[in-house]
């Protein structure tokens, strides 16, 4: 907080002159990047369609009301599939993520090289979107719920493992030493010293991931990997807007309920 001496006495400024200039330079760079990116995007845009958008919006929203309530009869099964994709996918992910997390944590990994491999698996599975995994798996195992489940499972390994191995690294070490002092083997130390400390976190991570996966599994149907997205895609393709709005309402409800359940369960665990 520099004070500048002026003829009228000291004047308070928020920043020093150099810092102020640096901030201006940062803004200049930021604005130029934004300008460049915007130009690039707008070159590829057909502005006629954009100007037409408000009319389109009013038109489509008008066609969406009222939602086709009777279409709900066809949606119970997709909702069940969607929840199954999320749940079984989360189970698959947790089963695979736990060993990977123990291999990736600094204090439980058998070797540095193993740790590097485990960390690579975590990063690689995390960086590819579940929709891309689903796209590939539809080719391999065929369209349907199985592809979606495996896609959600693979995508979640990284996210779960990352949180799990961080939890393992942050454990209280004195408890492990106490178990070690009784003459326990490495496996016993893990089971009685580390696992009880991280079990609540594990359960919390699983529920947290399940919530994310419910949201994720609603869209997998767009590439044919099962769930309510299949109906969404089909209804949009035939322009059945009242069905679309019904499906959107169902997705809204499902996501809302899963968020509520996950918050309740996490609250009771942690």
């Amino acid at each position: 907080m520099p004070l500048i001496e002026t003829s009228d006495g000291p004047l308070w400024k928020r920043r020093t002159t150099i810092k102020q200039w640096l901030i201006w330079a940062g803004w200049l760079i930021g604005v130029s990047i934004a300008y460049y990116a915007w130009n690039l995007i707008s070159e590829k845009t057909i502005w006629m369609f954009v100007w037409d958008a408000p009319r389109q919006m009013v038109d489509i929203v008008g066609r969406m009301v009222p939602p086709s309530w009777s279409y709900m009869d066809n949606l119970w099964r997709p909702v069940w599939d969607t929840l199954n994709i999320a749940t079984i996918g989360t189970v698959i992910a947790m089963v695979l993520a736990v060993p990977i997390a123990f291999l990736a944590a600094n204090n439980t990994t058998p070797h540095k090289l193993v740790r590097a491999v485990a960390l690579f698996i975590i990063v690689a599975t995390r960086s590819v979107n579940s929709l891309i995994w689903a796209l590939l798996l539809v080719v391999i195992v065929g369209p349907g719920v199985l592809a979606g489940t495996i896609a959600i499972g693979i995508r979640s390994i990284g996210g779960c493992s990352k949180l799990l191995y961080e939890a393992i690294e942050e454990i209280n070490h004195t408890q492990v030493e106490a178990i070690e002092a009784t003459g326990a083997s490495r496996i016993q130390q893990m089971l009685y010293g580390i696992v009880p400390q991280v079990l609540p976190t594990f359960a919390g991570v699983a529920v947290f991931r399940w919530d994310i996966n419910v949201r994720g599994s609603t869209i997998l149907g767009i590439v044919g990997a099962g769930g309510i997205g299949v109906q969404l895609n089909a209804s949009i393709n035939v322009l059945a807007w009242t069905q679309v709005s019904m499906i959107l309402l169902v997705i809204l409800g499902t996501v809302f309920i899963s968020e509520y359940v996950s918050a309740k369960v996490r609250h009771s665990i942690i």
């Binding site: 990116a37 590829k44 489509i60 079984i88 990063v123 891309i132």
Partner: protein, 267 residues
């Protein structure tokens, strides 16, 4: 001490203490999984047919031959990156007023409720669904992706901004207020400095998320590399698929490390 009732072996206490609840959960989940897997309708002949194809796809990764048969990959990836950047900026510009409005200690109740419901809706729908509608409204191309990702950014950024403002230190805000500042000056000199470091970190994090999403919104026609990925899979051009996936993974890892590094440096 030889109390015969007192067991001298120790047993690990179960994770769920209440036995009724524990068994209910065990049996319930068993029934659920039996039902879920039973209704899955797995077509095993199709799986057997597809596995060799999966191996072909996998073999294209080792080694990658960086095929770009139609000369579109670099273009698509760049489009995704620029789309991620501009939609992060656009999303933040939209998020700041909404975040201020959604902070209970800054705005009146009706503004608060209005802003919170905007955040709620944008958080519920995945970016892909937003992108489908953006394509319907604005036509094919990156502009639709820009709109979808910007709206997606609101749900994330405005929510965290609002929560951060609600948790800020009151004494600093009061100190500025008693100088007789206007509302804008008050926000600029007492709220903004308190939340700024964390917001810079979050915007970098969001850039990271937006790139991941911008790589797939192309699947529904909203620009970026996703469209080429979809075409390459449908045309069985697996070496192109592999190249695209590898480039996405490399960029995501690079972004994650840079943003992690910058966030540490800012905070």
């Amino acid at each position: 001490m030889s109390n015969s009732n007192y067991s001298d072996t120790w047993k690990k206490p179960p994770f769920i203490v209440n036995p009724v609840l524990r068994w209910l959960i065990y049996v319930g989940s068993l029934v659920y999984f039996a039902l879920a897997i039973g209704t899955m309708e797995i077509n095993w002949t199709r799986v057997a047919e597809g596995l060799p194809r999966g191996l072909t796809l996998l073999s294209k990764f080792f080694p990658p031959n960086l095929a770009d048969s139609r000369g579109v990959i670099v273009d698509g990836i760049l489009e995704s990156i620029w789309m991620a950047i501009i939609s992060t900026i656009g999303g933040i510009i939209l998020s700041v007023p909404i975040g201020l409005g959604a902070a209970r200690n800054l705005s009146p109740k009706w503004v608060y409720l209005f802003c919170r419901s905007i955040i709620g809706v944008s958080r519920t729908f995945p970016e892909i669904i937003l992108a489908i509608f953006a394509v319907k409204f604005f036509g094919f191309g990156p502009f639709a992706g820009f709109v979808a990702l910007s709206i997606g950014t609101i749900g994330f950024f405005a929510k965290l901004l609002a929560e951060d403002i609600e948790n800020m230190s009151k004494s600093q805000a009061e100190a500025v207020k008693v100088t007789g500042s206007s509302w804008l000056q008050w926000v600029n000199y007492s709220v903004q400095p308190q939340v700024m470091p964390r917001m810079i970190g979050l915007s970098l994090y969001r850039l990271d998320i937006n790139f991941r999403e911008s790589a797939v919104v192309g699947i529904v026609g909203a620009g970026g590399i996703g469209a080429h990925l979809l075409t390459s899979v449908q045309r069985y051009e697996y070496d192109t698929t592999a190249t695209i996936l590898i480039s996405i993974i490399i960029i995501v890892i690079a972004l994650e490390y840079t943003s992690g590094y910058l966030r540490k440096w800012v905070q």
